[in-house]
């Protein structure tokens, strides 16, 4: 009965490859996010979708492309992976209708290592 689930948990790949991370939430939320956490634990917003519509698109290389087939899913595709992409990527969700009060609910993260 996991609320926000991400797959895979670990991802090790070589530079130049393309990879995807999947996220699903069963909380009935209508807004989903991708965050990147660097080695110093700093969390940076990458993207946010509300009902499949992109509402936040921070300064992220266009090698990163989010896709939301429905409001319960938000996937992240990364092209031409670089060493600097190594980080932990977190998916999160919240409820836009109650957005002022609704906290973020996080997945357990995907640790991406680019060699």
């Amino acid at each position: 009965d996991t609320a926000v689930s991400q797959t895979p948990k670990y991802l090790v790949t070589q530079m130049g490859n393309d990879k995807s991370i999947k996220c699903e939430q069963n909380l009935g939320h209508d807004t989903m996010y991708w965050y990147k956490q660097d080695s110093k634990k700093f969390l940076k917003i990458m993207f946010s979708y509300n009902n499949k519509e992109l509402i936040i698109n921070e300064t992220v290389p266009n090698r990163f492309s989010p896709k939301s087939p429905d409001k319960a899913h938000l996937n992240l595709h990364i092209n031409s992976l670089e060493l600097g992409d190594s980080a932990v990527y977190f998916c999160a969700s919240s409820q836009y209708r109650d957005r002022y009060n609704s906290p973020l609910h996080f997945g357990n993260g995907t640790r991406l290592t680019v060699t």
Partner: protein
């Protein structure tokens, strides 16, 4: 613009002693504030939230935080630290739209047996 500052990057306490993790926020309106905890290799778990109701907020695992508008602070406290409290703690403020959440840089809590 909204922002949060966590005043200590690292805090060490002995088991059984009080915990104080400090957070100051900047906001042009009455904010929503949250504390999250991240245990090693885990996601972030909500500890508590303030959303303009009671200024003293009680959370899970014995943590609480007090919203002080005059000091623009939202410090996290616990009367007695437990070994399982060792983790990274994040203070977060939400903007008026609720679309954007602004994270502090985190405080790493070490509990010494």
């Amino acid at each position: 613009a909204q922002s949060v500052t966590q005043l200590d990057s690292h805090v060490s306490v002995s088991e059984g002693t009080p915990v104080l993790l400090r957070c100051n926020y900047s906001s042009s309106y009455s904010p929503s504030l949250f504390w999250y905890v991240q245990h090693p290799n885990k996601g972030l778990q909500l500890l508590l939230k303030y959303t303009s109701a009671a200024t003293l907020v009680k959370g899970i695992n014995g943590f609480e935080a007090e919203f002080k508008k005059s000091e623009t602070s939202f410090h996290l406290t616990k009367p007695s630290a437990h070994m399982s409290d060792a983790a990274e703690y994040f203070c977060v403020v939400s903007d008026l739209s609720g679309n954007q959440f602004y994270f502090g840089t985190g405080t790493s809590l070490t509990v010494i047996p």
